[in-house]
């Protein structure tokens, strides 16, 4: 049994010493009150914040099928270095994760490459091949280890089919995550519809492509009295609807990504394919509304929508480049800006990245109580670093933040008491 003593870390604003034995937390005491027992590894965490390991509930790890973009090993490496103890991986692999055999092989690969974590929590497809026609065998997927159901990337367009997906998933206690996008309004769009798209001539996706489906999902969730989780929300109309739904008691939860809080479609003026993402970066009004929704709790969780692509795929005119931003390496630092600018508190930051994800998807959570799983990382809130390609552990270097200077960095990471970073 190995012991670990984290000395003088900042936990929710207080200087503490944390004693870990084996895989669990033994005690958290004010700094200096206790000393490390013998045979204990002591880590000086002076000036560093201690966070429970975060969850990224929306990633694309590309394996099986697109290992040239990312694989489970590199994806989990990015997770570990990014501060994530668990990631929920979407089903748009090849083959699609619509059968227990695919789920099992993904879990096996994660166990082989990162046996101590970060942990992979697969998300099963809602429909076979993500085609929106035939329900996936969700009971089998749940048994194999899927923790949620989603047709992310290929949203279920038909309302009746989506209803069936919600009802069938509920049979097995699974929450359905919907990528809200009306397939007709979003067809052949490459950025947000607005002054920028109309200035540069690119066909834009209107915000209603998202918000209409948000409204549909909310109304269905209320009618069926079932939960629905809304993926990567990006615009004002959507958060207004979600706020309204929550006030009515609808079982709706929602996520957003760092880029919707920081960037707008202005960045697309130079046809930057690194900033091409779906849903697209929206207007300044939308960005401010997203920040407000994070602040007031309308948005429940942060996610990255980590969508790595190979360089050669993004090196095209904008119409030919795929959507997606590689996000896990930078997300914690990028969202830390929201604490720095006063949008949210540090406690809310923990809620958005750890507590609410654990609650929504029924995942284990370290609350630093005695016996809790020793999943935590040390974060230097002041370190400034450059997000170079070499600083990224993901294979996908496709991010509009590449070569920017970020503030705040993960310095060390333990999962189940074992150091992974």
């Amino acid at each position: 049994m190995t012991n670990l003593f984290i000395s003088n870390g900042l936990l929710r604003g207080k200087s503490v010493d944390i004693l870990v034995s084996g895989s669990t937390i033994v005690s958290v005491k004010p700094h200096g009150e206790t000393t490390a027992p013998e045979d204990t590894e002591v880590v000086d965490a002076s000036g560093l914040i201690v966070f429970p390991s975060f969850y990224d509930c929306h990633v694309h790890l590309r394996e099986p099928g697109y290992e040239y973009k990312e694989d489970i090993e590199s994806g989990l490496s990015a997770a570990a270095h990014g501060g994530f103890g668990g990631v929920l991986a979407m089903a748009n692999t090849n083959p699609t994760n619509d059968a227990a055999s695919v789920t099992e092989s993904m879990l096996q690969k994660a166990q082989q490459t990162w046996p101590n974590g970060p942990y992979l929590y697969p998300i099963g497809a809602a429909t076979i091949g993500l085609k929106g026609k035939e329900l996936a065998p969700m009971g089998e997927l749940a048994e194999a280890g899927c923790v949620a159901i989603s047709n992310d990337g290929m949203p279920v367009g038909g309302a009746e089919m989506f209803r069936h997906c919600m009802e069938y998933a509920a049979t097995f206690g699974l929450t359905i995550i919907d990528h809200c996008e009306d397939p007709t309004l979003a067809k052949d769009c490459h950025m947000n519809e607005g002054t920028v798209s109309e200035a540069i001539g690119v066909k834009g996706q209107p915000v209603v492509a998202e918000s209409m489906q948000v409204a549909r999902d909310i109304l269905l969730a209320e009618y069926l009295n079932l939960p629905v989780h809304l993926a990567h929300i990006s615009c004002k109309q959507s958060v207004d609807l979600i706020r309204w739904a929550k006030s009515r008691g609808v079982k709706v939860t929602a996520e957003t990504c760092p880029h919707y809080l920081i960037l707008t479609d202005e960045i697309l003026k130079g046809y930057s394919t690194a900033a091409k993402v779906n849903p697209p970066l929206r207007s300044e009004e939308d960005r401010l509304a997203m920040k407000e929704a994070v602040k007031d709790g309308t948005i429940d969780i942060f996610v990255t929508d980590h969508a790595p692509h190979a360089d050669h795929e993004k090196e095209h005119p904008i119409e030919g480049a795929p959507n997606g931003i590689s996000g896990m390496d930078s997300a914690v630092a990028l969202t830390w800006t929201q604490v720095q600018d006063g949008t949210i508190t540090e406690d809310e930051f923990i809620k958005l990245w750890a507590e609410k994800p654990a609650e929504i998807f029924k995942l284990p959570l370290n609350t630093f109580a005695e016996g809790d799983i020793a999943d935590f990382f040390l974060f230097d809130p002041n370190e400034e670093w450059k997000l170079t390609e070499d600083a990224m552990y993901s294979k996908g270097k496709n991010t509009p933040f590449l070569n920017s200077t970020l503030k705040g960095r993960v310095k060390a990471h333990w999962l189940g008491g074992t150091r992974v970073v």
Binding site: E134, L135, P137, M138, G139, E140, H164, T171, F172
Partner: protein, 317 residues
């Protein structure tokens, strides 16, 4: 049959079990017991309904129910006439109303109707003077099935319903069998559980006097009987279910499940069965299976139903 002389059946038609008081159900089942005895005799025919005519109007495919009514009528010496959708003028574009009026003009005593339209039996019952027996209308009701199931359960349970627990397993959303059974059994004091994927349960099922399960291993715990429903294969094409192998994995009743039920718990199925899909093949044939008893119960109870409806006028009703 002496006791019937004092009991005038108060209903012109049998549209659903909801119209029957428990006393009437009990009387009907007692009558069926007497016919059941006749069915065990070497000569299985009595002259009770001699000279009466029964029209079997089945506008939806049916073998079991139609044959059951046919046998029931003939055992009582009634003349039975069959009309199916393919042979009837319905295929020539005649409305249900006109077909029914045409039939009535031939003065039958009872019309037995199976129709895909909900409320079809009520529709013609309101327009005709003869007795109408609903042999299944859409997803609405199947009273004669509920009565034969009740006859089967009454025998298995020694006429004691109260405190018993019955699990109905399968596609309740589209099942007229389930609706009629739930109505009758809950009134008799039976605790009814339903188990199905949520896509195969009615939207407002939480308002029904039943307990809902999605996990079959929990649903069968301690039950006195399980009634499996037939899964219509088109439910999958309609997007309500994934591949059928998952349905079989999650919702097929097996011997392992029955070990969780009460000892001696009975298994019912209205037929025709999809062996290996909603019921394991060996269970269908096991000692506790009442599937074939349901078939013979069907003849006896339908004899009682035809008798009570065809003779009520003769008794001064």
């Amino acid at each position: 049959m002496s006791q019937e002389k004092h009991f005038i059946w108060p209903h012109k038609d049998l549209l659903d079990v909801s119209q029957l008081s428990l006393e009437e159900v009990s009387h009907l089942l007692d009558t069926a017991e007497q016919f059941h005895e006749i069915n065990q005799r070497p000569v299985k025919k009595v002259p009770t309904l001699k000279g009466k005519s029964v029209v079997l109007f089945f506008a939806e495919p049916s073998t079991r129910t139609k044959t059951s009514f046919d046998v029931a009528g003939k055992r009582l010496s009634a003349d039975t006439f069959s009309l199916s959708s393919s042979s009837s003028s319905l295929t020539k574009g005649e409305s249900l109303k006109d077909t029914a009026l045409t039939l009535e003009a031939m003065n039958p005593d009872v019309i037995v109707l199976r129709h895909k339209a909900n409320g079809a039996s009520q529709f013609i019952a309101e327009r005709l003077d003869c007795a109408v027996v609903n042999a299944g209308d859409g997803c609405h009701a199947h009273p004669t099935q509920a009565i034969l199931d009740n006859f089967t359960l009454r025998r298995a349970w020694n006429n004691e319903y109260a405190g018993r627990t019955l699990l109905i397993l399968g596609d309740v959303r589209h099942s007229r069998v389930a609706r009629s059974n739930i109505n009758l059994l809950t009134r008799q004091g039976v605790k009814v559980r339903l188990c199905a994927p949520r896509t195969l349960l009615p939207h407002t099922v939480h308002n029904w006097p039943v307990e809902i399960y999605h996990d079959l291993t929990k649903a069968v715990e301690g039950v006195d009987a399980v009634m499996c429903l037939r899964l219509q294969l088109e439910r999958q094409q309609a997007g309500l279910l994934p591949e059928l192998s998952e349905y079989a994995r999650m919702f097929c009743l097996t011997g392992n499940h029955m070990e969780m039920a009460k000892e001696g718990a009975k298994i019912l199925h209205p037929g025709p069965m999809n062996r290996g899909l909603e019921i394991a093949s060996d269970l269908a044939d096991c000692n506790e299976s009442r599937v074939l008893n349901q078939v013979s119960a069907g003849v006896a109870t339908r004899m009682a139903i035809l008798y009570l409806h065809a003779t009520r006028k003769d008794k001064g009703a």
